[in-house]
Symmetry: D2
Subunit: 304 residues, 4 copies
Amino acid sequence: MHYQSILDDIVESLRPQLGRHGEVADHIPALARVPAERLGIALRTCEGEEAAAGDAGEPFSIQSVSKLFSLTLAMQYLGDDLWDRIGREPSGDPFNSLVQLEFEQGIPRNPFINAGAIAVADRLTSRGDAAAEVLALLSSLCDEELQVDEEVATSEMDAGYRNLALASLMKDFGKIDNPIPQVLEAYFRQCSIRMDCRQLARAAGYLCRRGKHPYRPDEAVVTDRQARRLNALMLTCGTYDAAGEFAFRVGLPCKSGVGGGIVAVVPDRLSLCVWSPALDENGNSHLGMEALEMFVAKTRLSVF
Amino acid sequence: MHYQSILDDIVESLRPQLGRHGEVADHIPALARVPAERLGIALRTCEGEEAAAGDAGEPFSIQSVSKLFSLTLAMQYLGDDLWDRIGREPSGDPFNSLVQLEFEQGIPRNPFINAGAIAVADRLTSRGDAAAEVLALLSSLCDEELQVDEEVATSEMDAGYRNLALASLMKDFGKIDNPIPQVLEAYFRQCSIRMDCRQLARAAGYLCRRGKHPYRPDEAVVTDRQARRLNALMLTCGTYDAAGEFAFRVGLPCKSGVGGGIVAVVPDRLSLCVWSPALDENGNSHLGMEALEMFVAKTRLSVF
Amino acid sequence: MHYQSILDDIVESLRPQLGRHGEVADHIPALARVPAERLGIALRTCEGEEAAAGDAGEPFSIQSVSKLFSLTLAMQYLGDDLWDRIGREPSGDPFNSLVQLEFEQGIPRNPFINAGAIAVADRLTSRGDAAAEVLALLSSLCDEELQVDEEVATSEMDAGYRNLALASLMKDFGKIDNPIPQVLEAYFRQCSIRMDCRQLARAAGYLCRRGKHPYRPDEAVVTDRQARRLNALMLTCGTYDAAGEFAFRVGLPCKSGVGGGIVAVVPDRLSLCVWSPALDENGNSHLGMEALEMFVAKTRLSVF
Amino acid sequence: MHYQSILDDIVESLRPQLGRHGEVADHIPALARVPAERLGIALRTCEGEEAAAGDAGEPFSIQSVSKLFSLTLAMQYLGDDLWDRIGREPSGDPFNSLVQLEFEQGIPRNPFINAGAIAVADRLTSRGDAAAEVLALLSSLCDEELQVDEEVATSEMDAGYRNLALASLMKDFGKIDNPIPQVLEAYFRQCSIRMDCRQLARAAGYLCRRGKHPYRPDEAVVTDRQARRLNALMLTCGTYDAAGEFAFRVGLPCKSGVGGGIVAVVPDRLSLCVWSPALDENGNSHLGMEALEMFVAKTRLSVF
């Protein structure tokens, strides 16, 4: 397929809608001042072919997309022990709800809701500097040196009362091993990593390669089975309370973040990333989802 | 692949576990007396190749597997209008919970929880005899004359207080158009259709054929896009409160029923059906899920 | 005290507000056409002194006020066995919520929410014609022949899907012994009894007389202890989701209904009834509550 | 009445049950090592008569009984503005549940659940040293110098993750003005005040005196109306999730704490305090409730 022309077409046809739907995340100033009128898309195939269009080279805050990579690290380290403290089911509730966490006694429904990602950060913190490891993993995966946006990290920590509530509740249930401030710092720092679409499309490459490193085919980031499971979790839980809608309309494993980025995977074919900062009511990039739907319509690369 | 030997292997290796895990559904006598020690599996490829093993020829009550076919009919008739009254998100609650239905004002989370299937039955009832149409669709799809088990249908109606509560609550919210007894009769009758694994594997064939009829390739049961969407709904919502677990361990679109049947789809490849009546705590066939996991491990036919 | 002048004052000072706040119940036509501009108040002391003002002689539909009297009957018949199937705690949820009923497996929080009153009706139905007995009790208590409003009763039955849902859910949990239609008919008929303020003030007289009949002091309607317990239940649970607010502002045991009536008790002193059909957002009579607050401010007859 | 002999009788008849029901609070070591075999009771009438029996002179941790006095202070300072951030309804959920707090967007149901008392502590913190003021109020009310148990206060702060979760969630909703650590310290310190039954019975005296100070009849602690409202809140919300049961069985305004103390009020008559450290499943003193029920049975001093 001529991926480059497909991506160009998508950006071209969505350009008139730039800044007309949704709202940029505004819970911290550094995110609130990102201009809404941005759209980037990039992909990399299993053969190493690349294509990109629009603002694919403009860095943004990866936010919850980082949960995919911290989970990957936790799977490497802990294997199935990880699941003692985290479920694998869609939550059916908004991503930051405490209700389910209380009913289920401190066991988050899945690793992609905030509580689940905080639980993952706690497990990683028991082994070392969790945020630094996520940063190192991502730098390795996209073969570039990446940075945490310190302003974002600091603002997140100052404003993160909901996440503090989640962590405190899990700690009360005996499900967090490390001090809360340390765990939350790790979590907020991993969310504050800056990347662009190209880099994220590259970094997610192990997920379409049965777990193999995107640039070092002999090296397994995770096993084949783990890569499939990561894809399954992305599809059922990766886009907050809209996973069903994504599966229905897009049909690819996706992980989104409130920075406006969405990573998607076509197993055995390619990994891609779209970015547009204006969010729909579920916290997913409005145009990002449109772009993915167009991509699947044009390529028929849905898993279904 | 040598599907026949794969299916034989699966049945052979699971045979020692027959009757050792889970419980047969016992909410009505006709289901409670089904022997637990049964396991059948059958598939049919897009090329028409068939394979079957174990008790694949023994008819059982399809129960909630019927929701897949009533939804198919509703999509044919109503297109996207169907979604005015039914959501497309995993529920995160047990399949028969009223909590979510009350909070969301009579709009069921998805068409595969009981409330959603009752809402579908109501929409079909507005057009005619819903249960008869589901029966006719299934008979056409598997190319055989099927029957409703009248004893099961009668027992379900006598014992169906939870479903009566769901229907009444939706009616109270103005979301059910037809008289409750008529809607519930349609629902219970479609659940009481008897089929065996072979028949169900055949009937689901349009889902791996981009919507085309399993025996009449020129005839579209649904559109390509609708077929993909049905698969997406199966994967995210088709197995009660264990959809995440199914995606994680099996990785195929599945629809299960408390009769112990599970239909699964490998898009563009094949449709299959397993049956074993003993259920796990989520209401899914315990050995059925094991069999599917083995099938995917042996064939690597997961969508992920 | 000069009760008559106090009641006159209350009606006089509230008259300018008639019809300016709240909405008349409109779930059935017969209630919707009651004029909003009505206010009546009546009391009867333990010594038999009576006072009344405004529309105290105009009959209205007692609706949920009837729950007080059906509970009285159930206490007579069943004693403490009654509490096997009904709790005694405030619900913290709207009066017709299914959520709590589902979590607590068919045991209603208290006998004054709809589910609880339906459970009471079921227990009474096991002994005979429940609605007829409530009617007979009320006729005896106020020493006049009362009637069920048949139009209201029929309309309630036709529109009562929420109550059908509650009854079905309890039946599903095995907590309803009799056929649902019979139980709901009893419940809807008792709600459809017509009385005026004078009659209800008289009828509630046993609650300020330590259980003794208002007109036959030698006859115990309930024991002293049961009378106190009825008052306690009224105070903590008698006014839907506003029991705390009533205790805070009025400070008397009260039972309200969506017909706009509220019965209140001053233990060892008097029983009273106010009626004004326009309801606040909790389903309690807006001016009725105002009138009770004024009554307590003028007489200092709060229990606190 | 001969209160002294009544209290002696109560202690005598309950003595055989000492240590046989319930469990001492064990969430912090200093509470866990309190012996279960203790029972004290004391009262003081509006005329200044006192009576006491059992372990009435042994100090204990007042815990949530302090919420009554911090609320009193907040009513003094803020009047009805207090209710902008706190409701007045029973919660229908365990005292430390986050569910309701999330649904109701950071507004606690009432000032006696933990979230409500933390919200009160926040309002008091805006005016000064909240815990010091509660301590000063209590010292004035019982006319003795009281102390905070520093070991208990420190332990509470170290273990209080559930309360940290509640405070964080309210802060996230913009309902807490002061820094969380400062608010929680105030809250935990007020809970750690040590008093005995005699002192608490004296201190609660303004609640049976229409707001007047127990020892200085010319001085109003709160207004008559506020005193009645405090009693109303105690009756509907003062004993965690068992307020209905207390009203039903005891029929007096009560406020309990997990230290095993319960303060009760008979308006216009007397204030009393019972203490026994073993708690029932609701977190109320098991024998304390029994003692109150006996007291009311013997004196017929229920408000109902």
